[in-house]
Symmetry: C2
Subunit: 457 residues, 2 copies
C-alpha cells in the first residue's frame, strides 16, 4: 500500500488501520514477528508508529517483547512521548542502544529526555564512548535550549573553495548528513560567515567561487538560545536551516526547519491547552494520569470559587431582602469572565510571538480600556433592557448597568496586565493567568452587582 | 546593522527600534524618502516590515504616500494582513501592480485575498495578461485549498536523465525558482514519480541515473486538499516540499515547508483564540474592529447567562427559604465549566491533529466518563468538607456532593461529545463548542444544586 493511494483515498487508509489492527493483534498472539516486521517495512515510519499507538497496551507490550521483532529506530522516534516511555520499559538494554546509535543526535536526546535519571545512566553506560560523549554533552544544556534541538551533523566548507571543488568534496566525503538544505561557509576559526542553499550550488557554474554566491551575515543561533526564540527567528526570517555556534562563535551544530516546526506548533498548542488548565496532556495518557494533570487547576478553581462565595455571603441580608439579585448575579460575573478571557487569549499569543513589546504596550492597554468601556456600555444597555422587560424594576436595571460597565473595564485591563506581569516575573503567562483573571472578574462581578444593589436598597 | 548583532544582543535590537522609529518619523515629516529607502535596504525585509507596523497610522500613511518612496514587495509581504489592507488603500494602482508582479504566485494571491472584490478586479485588470491569468486561476480555488498556498514555479525533469545532465540543465535554465529543496522526477504525462533532494544530487557522481537515487512514491497533494490537511501531511511525514497535482495527477505546483509552517502555526493559534471567543484578531486592529470581533461571542454568552438566571429563578422559593444556597450555587457551576473546558481544549487539539479517530473514540469517551466520576468524587469530598467546616450543616454538604459528581460527569462527557458532533456537522469545533459546553455545565450545575436542595428542604 503506497502513500499515494492512502492520501488520495482517506477512507481506504482509515479502514485499513482498523482492519490492520485486528490482523496485527492475531499475528502478535501467534508470535509472527516476521509478518509484522515486513509489513512495517513497507510503510512510512510515521504510519507504522501510528498503528503501534492504536494498539492496546497489552498488545503493544507483547509485540515489543516478541523475540524476533526489532522496532525500527525511525518508527520509534515517530511515536508520541508517552508511548515512547512505555515502550522503553519493555525494551532490552541492547535494543535501546541499537535505537540510540542509529538516530541523529537531536532525536536521540529527545528520547533520553523522557527516561528516568537512573535508567538514563544505565542506558548511557551501554553506548559506545563517542555516542555517549555526544549525548552527555547535549544533555548538559538546558532543556529548552537550541543545543537540545540541533544536530551535530552538518556540511561546512572553507571560504576560498569554488563550486567545483565543493561538489567534488561532497561526492567523495562519506560522513555528511543524509540531507542538508544549506552549506555553511566558515572562516579559519570555524565561524560561519555565509550560507549557500544546496539548489544554488546546482545552478552555478563549476568555476564560480562559493564566496560569490553565498548569502552573507547568516543568523547565528547561540547554543543557549531558548528554542521558542529559535522558532520565532525561523518564522520571522523564513529560514530553512541555521548554524548553531558556541560562545566563541564556532560552528557546533545545525537546526533545520522540521525541528522548529514541532517547537512552534507545540508552543501554540500548549498555550491553548494551558489557558484551559490542561498541561502537556497526550491522548494516550491513562485516566489516572489525565486526572492528575487536571487536578491542580480544578483545586485552585475550587478555592477561588469559595472566595467568590465568601464575597457573596457578605451581602446575605441584601439577597434575603431581594432574592431576584441572586438570580441575576451570575450574569455580570460570567460576562466579565468571558471578556477577560478574550483579552487574555489575545495577549498570551501576542506575547509568545513577540508582537506585544514595550513600543506598543501603552497603546494596547489604552485599547483594552476603550474596548472595556465600549463593551460595558453596549452590554449594560442590552442587559438592562432584558431585566426591565422581565422584572419591570428600574432600580434593578440600573444596578446591572453600573456593575456591567465596571466589570467589563476591569476584565479588559486585567486580561492584559496579568499575563504581562507574569511574563516579567518569568512565569509562563499561559499557565497561571486565567485563574487570576477569572477570580478578579468573579469577585468584581459579584461585589459590584451586590454592592450597588445594597446601596440602592 | 547586521542581523547577527541584533540577535546576539536583543536589547540593542529593541532600543534600536524605539530610537529608529523617532528618527524615521522625523524623516517622514521632512519628506526624506532617500534616507528611508536606503536604511530599509540594509535590513532584512521582516525587520523593515516590523518597523512599518510600529509606526502610527498617520505616519504610515505619510510614508507610503511619499513620492520618492517605493515599498519593496519583499517588505510588503512580511506585513501582517490588517496593515497590508490599510496600505493598499494608500498605494497607486501602478505600485500595486509592481508589488504583485515581483512576488511568487502564492504570495501575490495572499495579498489579493484581503482586497475587496471591486478593488481586486481593477488591480487585476492592470496586470500583464500572463500574471493576471495565473492569479485568477489561483483565486478560482477554494480559500483553504492547497492551490492557494502552492507556487507555480518548480523544478521537474524527465526520469531518464543522469545526475550530470540534470546539473547541466539546472546551470543553463534561467527560469527556475530561486530556490528548490527537491527536484521532481516526472513521467511522460508529467505525473511526479519521485523526488530527489537537492543535496543528494550534489553528493552523487555525474554518471548516476536520477532514477536510481530518487525517493519513489512521492506524496501527491491534490490541488483541492484542505491546507490544514496539507499541514498535517508535512508534519506527519517530515516533508520539505511536496508536489501538487491536478485531477489527472499532472504536476501543477509545489508547496514548501515555510508555507505550511504558517498554516500549522496559525491553525493552532486560531484554536487557542477561538476557544476563548476571539476570531482572527490582530494586534494592529483598532478598538472598533476588536470590539466587533469579540461582540458576537459576548452577546451569545449574555443570552446563555440569562438562561442560567431563568433556571435559578425557578428555585426562588428554595433560595428565600435558605439564602446560603445562593452563596454556594456558583461553586458547582464554575467547577463544571472548568472541567468541561479542560476536556474541550484537549478534544479540539486532538481533532485538529487527527489523533482522535473512530478507532479510539469509544475508548476516549469512556476515559472522560471515568475522569468525570473520579474528579466528581474528589471534589465532592473536598467541597463538602469545606462547607461542613463553614456552615456545620450536613444536609448542605450532601447537596453540594451529589451535585458536584453529577456536574463533573456531564462536563467531561459534553466536553468531548460537543466538539466531535460539531466536527461531524462540518462546523469548526473550536469556534462553537465552548458556548455549548459552558451553557450545559452552568445549567446542570445550578439546576442540580438547587434541585437537590429543594428536594431536601
Amino acid at each position: 500500500m503506497t502513500l499515494i493511494k492512502k492520501i488520495k483515498d482517506k477512507k481506504v487508509n482509515f479502514e485499513f488501520n482498523k482492519e490492520y489492527i485486528k490482523v496485527l493483534t492475531d499475528k502478535i498472539s501467534n508470535n509472527d514477528a516476521v509478518f509484522i516486521t515486513n509489513s512495517f517495512k513497507e510503510m512510512h515510519p510515521a504510519d507504522a508508529a501510528d498503528i503501534i499507538e492504536h494498539l492496546s497496551q497489552d498488545n503493544r507490550e507483547s509485540l515489543i517483547k516478541l523475540n524476533e521483532f526489532k522496532i525500527d529506530p525511525e518508527v520509534f522516534i515517530e511515536l508520541n512521548e508517552s508511548i515512547q516511555s512505555e515502550i522503553i520499559k519493555y525494551l532490552s538494554p541492547s535494543s535501546i542502544t541499537r535505537i540510540l546509535t542509529n538516530l541523529e543526535s537531536d532525536d536521540a536526546i529527545k528520547i533520553l529526555e523522557n527516561v528516568e535519571e537512573k535508567e538514563k545512566n544505565s542506558i548511557l553506560s551501554e553506548l559506545p564512548p563517542k555516542d555517549r560523549f555526544a549525548l552527555l554533552e547535549g544533555l548538559s544544556y538546558p532543556e529548552d535550549s537550541a543545543a537540545r534541538i540541533m544536530q551535530r551533523e552538518f556540511t561546512a566548507i572553507p571560504s576560498n573553495w569554488s563550486v567545483g571543488q565543493t561538489i567534488d568534496y561532497l561526492r567523495e566525503n562519506k560522513e555528511l548528513p543524509e540531507e542538508f538544505l544549506e552549506i555553511f561557509i566558515v572562516n579559519e576559526n570555524f565561524k560561519p560567515i555565509g550560507t549557500v542553499p544546496s539548489s544554488r550550488v546546482l545552478t552555478t557554474p563549476r568555476e564560480s567561487k562559493m564566496l560569490s554566491i553565498m548569502t552573507d551575515s547568516p543568523i547565528l543561533v547561540p547554543v543557549n538560545m531558548d528554542k521558542e526564540e529559535v522558532g520565532n527567528l525561523f518564522e520571522n526570517y523564513n529560514l530553512n536551516s541555521a548554524c548553531v555556534v558556541d560562545k566563541n562563535d564556532k560552528l557546533v551544530g545545525m537546526i533545520t526547519y522540521d525541528d522548529v516546526l514541532t517547537v512552534l506548533k507545540e508552543e501554540a498548542e500548549e498555550d491553548a491547552l494551558r489557558l484551559a488548565g490542561v498541561g502537556d496532556e497526550e491522548i494516550t495518557d491513562g485516566v489516572l494520569v489525565k486526572t492528575k494533570r487536571r487536578f491542580n487547576w480544578l483545586l485552585l478553581n475550587l478555592f477561588t470559587a469559595f472566595l467568590a462565595t465568601w464575597c457573596i455571603s457578605l451581602f446575605g441580608a441584601t439577597i434575603e431582602q431581594m432574592v431576584v439579585l441572586a438570580f441575576l448575579m451570575p450574569i455580570v460575573a460570567s460576562m466579565g469572565g468571558n471578556a477577560g478571557m478574550q483579552t487574555l487569549a489575545v495577549t498570551v499569543r501576542t506575547l509568545a510571538t513577540n508582537d506585544l513589546t514595550k513600543n506598543n504596550f501603552n497603546q494596547n492597554i489604552l485599547k483594552e480600556f476603550n474596548i472595556g468601556i465600549l463593551n460595558g456600555i453596549i452590554f449594560a444597555i442590552i442587559s438592562s433592557f432584558i431585566v426591565q422587560l422581565w422584572f419591570q424594576d428600574i432600580q434593578l436595571s440600573l444596578i446591572i448597568s453600573i456593575s456591567m460597565i465596571l466589570t467589563m473595564v476591569v476584565a479588559g485591563l486585567f486580561g492584559i496586565l496579568v499575563p504581562v506581569t507574569l511574563k516579567k516575573m518569568s512565569i509562563d503567562p499561559a499557565i497561571a493567568s486565567s485563574v487570576f483573571v477569572t477570580t478578579i472578574t468573579d469577585v468584581i462581578g459579584f461585589v459590584s452587582f451586590l454592592g450597588v444593589g445594597a446601596y440602592f436598597l
